[in-house]
């Protein structure tokens, strides 16, 4: 289980205080208004932001003192996931060994990860010669070769059109089921993950306001901020 308990972050213009529990192997969609603290939550779990209190654990392991590279997680951002001067294959290989000096068996793992996201045919392409969806699939392949059990996705498909977005979420769902990964995915439109996400966490004003099955969390009567996010602010008021 990913357990975030009362983790606090303070900035000059923003304060956050998170508590969230995601069962092992679950896909949890993090939704909420822009500027509400979704990305900050993921950055804190990844180790880019250090909480000033509380505990952060995954599978019983305390993550607080670990550097990002030592944590049992991989992360995919909305953009700039690939180094532009490296081919798809090299970008994936970075996840195995940053020196890019890989053994034969390790290159096979890279090839297998690219096959898993249907990118084997484009393995020698540079990111500049790929579409947005292809680039994100290469990033996903790199997350797979790292073999880390926790995958954080920070609005990774926001720039893609709706059809491609659905395809990509399908890829993530299939791969996490095959490999037993826990996935935390921030997303703008909850409908995109309907039927895929096991849980939904609603984040606003630097807090997880509600967490649980989608139907229970995205209930307009639960909180005015949830109602406003769903576009039913007036009715709820």
């Amino acid at each position: 289980m990913l357990a975030v308990d009362d983790c606090r972050l303070a900035y000059p213009d923003f304060e956050a205080r998170y508590t969230l529990h995601v069962p092992q192997g679950a896909l949890c969609a993090v939704v909420g208004p822009s500027g509400g603290g979704k990305t900050t939550l993921l950055h804190m779990i990844a180790g880019f932001e250090r909480p000033q209190g509380g505990t952060l654990r995954f599978a019983g392991q305390d993550l607080a003192g670990l550097r990002p590279s030592e944590r049992p997680l991989a992360m995919i951002f909305q953009d700039h996931n690939l180094f532009p001067h490296l081919t798809a294959r090299q970008n994936v290989a970075l996840g195995v060994r940053p020196t890019l000096r890989l053994q034969e068996a390790e290159w096979s793992r890279v090839a297998e990860a690219l096959r898993a996201v249907d990118m084997a045919a484009l393995s020698e392409r540079l990111p500049g010669d790929m579409s947005g969806g292809q680039r994100q699939r290469v990033a996903l392949a790199r997350a797979l070769v790292t073999a880390k059990p926790l995958l954080l996705l920070d609005e990774p498909f926001g720039a893609l059109d709706p059809g491609l977005r659905q395809d990509m979420i399908g890829w993530v769902d299939r791969l996490r089921r095959e490999r037993g990964m826990t996935v935390l995915l921030t997303i703008h439109t909850p409908d995109d993950v309907a039927g895929v996400a096991d849980r939904v966490a609603f984040v606003a004003d630097g807090q997880v306001l509600a967490e649980g099955p989608a139907a229970a969390v995205l209930e307009p009567g639960r909180d005015r901020r949830i109602a406003a996010f769903l576009g039913r602010g007036a009715g709820a008021a």
Partner: protein, 530 residues
């Protein structure tokens, strides 16, 4: 019938369309170039003149290329190391270091000459201090050491600022990726820093090379004779000292040919957005804690301090001498410089707006967009030499200087002014072009109502930068300058030549203060726009 007669004036109007403002500017520039180079050709005479010049030309070319190559290597190496050190480190006074770099990069070349002579010259601070300690220093600033030091002092800070801007553009995600993947210092350099440095290398190297290759004030004053002359200096000597116009013409043409080749590479730079103040890195660099890198960065920063701070201190030391300088000569030179700078900047901005306005017409962007690059390819000194030959047939060269000087300075500033103005005008055309057409907004009305608000800042930035370039210029004025026409850089040159170093110090300080204020204003305006 009535319909026909009412349509007739309309058709007649169409037969004489108003020329595009850019076309007028282009025709004017073409006429200047044609006139200047026709004069050069006419003075050059038969081909044998070039043959006679062979060994001399080879020597000048060899020196120009060699000093430019070494200066470029030194500037790029130190600039890149400095940029990396500043990108990795956060320390108290860092913004002061950045300001010092900006100050060094914006110093007029003639001020750099003064500063180096004041520090490293025979009577300079350093040699005086060594003598006071009982040493007998045998160091000559004139020749290769002075030229390389001056070029590195001017260009390494510029390269550092450019690289620092480029490094600040690295997406925050790449630094976070480096952290999650556990990249060490060497891998960070390989996958993040090196691609940035490599991407900027060609345009920066060609720009620095071109600046050093055409260097005038520095080589003229610090060359120390003995055949150490760039093509610019050789043209100047041919015109002013030897009165050998044929030699000046051939040298000018050779320089045009060489600079055109380099400027074709530079065209890429003009397409880029204007550089501004360095953006703050959104995330700390994960390699900042590496002990070897820390030692390396401290060493580089110390070296840069040794290079930049003594000359800056030498300029600041001119402060006590300022009150003594306040005479008629200074007042006239200051006023002349300011008037010439304002006129040059105004002309540069008007030309840039006219070209940018015409460039956004369908199918015209390639033609009009290329004109500023072409001007960059033509060395102003060679063109001035041609125009000088032309004008001296009809008018007193000193009086001609009053017209040619701001005109040539405006041409020299045009590529930079265009770089500020053109993107803003293209953006307004993209956003409001159709709306303006629908509403029938054209010409001046459109410029004021639609482009005006978007152009205010870029135009102000272009104006101040063009003023700064013109204000500190010591190149073209060397040809026309004298008792009738004396700018502040020319006055500094005269005082330096007469070994009146105290007065030169005061003038240098005034020159630097005003140039810096203008360059700073331009950078602030650009930064605010971004």
């Amino acid at each position: 019938m009535a319909r026909l007669s009412s349509a007739a004036p309309e058709r007649a109007g169409r037969r004489l369309p108003r020329p595009a403002p850019g076309a007028v500017v282009a025709a004017g520039i073409a006429a200047l170039l044609a006139g200047g180079f026709a004069a050069l050709f006419s003075a050059a005479g038969e081909g044998s003149a070039l043959k006679e010049l062979g060994p001399y030309l080879a020597r000048v070319l060899g020196f120009s290329l060699a000093q430019a190559a070494v200066s470029t290597v030194l500037s790029l190496a130190l600039g890149a190391a400095l940029a990396l050190a500043l990108a990795r480190r956060r320390f108290p006074g860092r913004s002061l270091v950045l300001s010092a770099l900006g100050a060094a990069a914006a110093m007029p070349a003639i001020v750099v000459v003064f500063a180096l002579v004041a520090v490293y010259g025979r009577g300079g601070f350093l040699q005086e201090a060594l003598r006071a300690l009982g040493f007998e220093p045998d160091f000559r600033i004139f020749g290769w050491p002075g030229i390389l030091l001056a070029h590195t002092l001017l260009n390494a800070p510029f390269v550092a600022r450019a690289y620092l801007d480029a490094l600040a553009e690295v997406p925050a995600e790449h630094w976070r990726l480096a952290e999650t993947l556990g990249l060490d210092a060497r891998q960070t350099a390989r996958h993040i820093d090196w691609p940035v440095l490599r991407a900027e290398f060609a345009p920066l190297a060609s720009l620095v090379f071109l600046l050093c290759f055409t260097s005038f004030a520095i080589v003229l004053n610090l060359g120390g004779g003995g055949g150490r002359a760039t093509l610019e200096v050789a043209i100047y000597e041919a015109l002013k000292t030897d009165l050998d116009f044929a030699r000046a013409a051939w040298l000018g043409l050779v320089q045009v040919a060489l600079c055109t080749t380099v400027a074709l590479t530079l065209h890429r730079i003009l397409e880029r957005p204007p550089a501004a103040l360095t953006a703050r890195l959104a995330v700390p660099r994960p390699d900042a804690g590496h002990p070897w890198l820390r030692a390396f960065d401290v060493g580089v920063l110390a070296l840069a301090g040794l290079l930049v701070l003594p000359p800056l201190a030498a300029v600041l030391a001119g402060l006590p001498h300022l009150p003594r300088l306040l005479d008629a000569d200074l007042a006239v030179a200051l006023a002349t410089s300011l008037v010439l700078a304002v006129v040059s900047a105004l002309a540069a901005c008007l030309m840039a707006v006219a070209l940018a306005e015409s460039a956004r017409r369908p199918g015209a962007s390639a033609i009009y967009g290329l004109i500023p690059a072409t001007v960059l390819a033509v060395p102003p000194f060679a063109l001035t030499a041609g125009l000088f030959l032309l004008v001296r047939r009809f008018a007193d060269p000193a009086l001609a200087g009053l017209v040619l000087l701001p005109l040539m300075n405006a041409l020299a500033a045009l590529p930079f002014a265009y770089r500020f103005v053109a993107p803003a005008m293209t953006t307004t055309a993209e956003r409001y072009g159709r709306l303006a057409s629908l509403l029938g907004l054209r010409g001046w009305t459109r410029l004021v109502l639609v482009d005006g608000p978007a152009l205010r800042r870029p135009l102000a930035a272009a104006f101040t930068l063009a003023m700064a370039l013109s204000f500190g210029d010591f190149g073209i004025v060397a040809l026309f300058g004298g008792s009738e026409l004396r700018t502040l850089p020319y006055l500094l040159y005269e005082r330096l030549g007469a070994y009146r170093l105290d007065e030169a110090g005061g003038i240098a300080l005034l020159l630097v203060a005003l140039s810096l204020a203008l360059a700073y204003a331009s950078a602030r305006l650009t930064h605010a726009r971004r």
